[in-house]
Subunit: 132 residues, 2 copies
């Protein structure tokens, strides 16, 4: 096992309006809170927000590209949505290995923060890292 | 509470190559198992597979558009990736209310099946349904 408890990686991403439109096209989730500014201003959020699962997907970008990296098999993802994400928010995804399960799987804490340091997603991942 | 245990909804979606490309553009997850056919054929999957979190995102399409519908606040999502999803797969997302928590939140089982009836994602959602 080349990974150890405490291994970390992070990824930064600014959320663009175009990301939200593309995400709606892929998923069919055209909920107006994501795409209709005049509707969204009437909600508790006060403006359009990103799809929660889009921000959660940035966790997998780190898993697949950095830690553990290419060849990783993602088996479980748990996410709790703590705060809304707005267009223009600069997100930081932070992953850290918290457990090695049966010398085979890794459990990582997977958290997403916005530019003011608020946690927007708290969660964990379980993955089978690449063999080599 | 207008919802009850046993309430159900479903959504069908064929996974297109263009969905995978767009998803990679949004997330920055250009892992070659998703976008490079010659690489992917050398892996255990034998062909390009969709990003797991893309298939998981279809769960949220049902939550936000159908059950509970527009105005829903998604608080928790848990997913276990059971089988790979390939380009051209026809997915069916099935949600069912399994618990009403404190007369306020709903817990739903959230499952995704492929065209042969295999479960590709097993999970659950917790949401705050719209008040009206």
């Amino acid at each position: 096992m080349k990974f150890k408890i405490g291994d970390k990686a992070e990824f930064c991403k600014v959320v663009l309006e175009s990301d939200i439109i593309k995400f709606a096209e892929i998923t069919g989730d055209f909920n107006p809170v994501h795409i209709d500014e005049s509707f969204a201003t009437q909600t508790r959020f006060g403006a359009r927000i990103a799809h929660g699962m889009m921000s959660a997907s940035f966790i997998c970008t780190v898993l697949g590209m950095q830690l553990p990296g290419i060849g990783t098999i993602h088996t479980t993802q748990h996410v709790e949505f703590k705060k809304p994400v707005y267009i223009g928010d600069a997100l930081t995804v932070r992953l850290e290995v918290t457990e090695i399960i049966n010398e085979k799987y890794l459990r990582l804490s997977s958290k997403v923060f916005n530019q003011t340091g608020d946690i927007v997603i708290d969660g964990y991942s379980v993955v089978l890292p690449p063999r080599t």
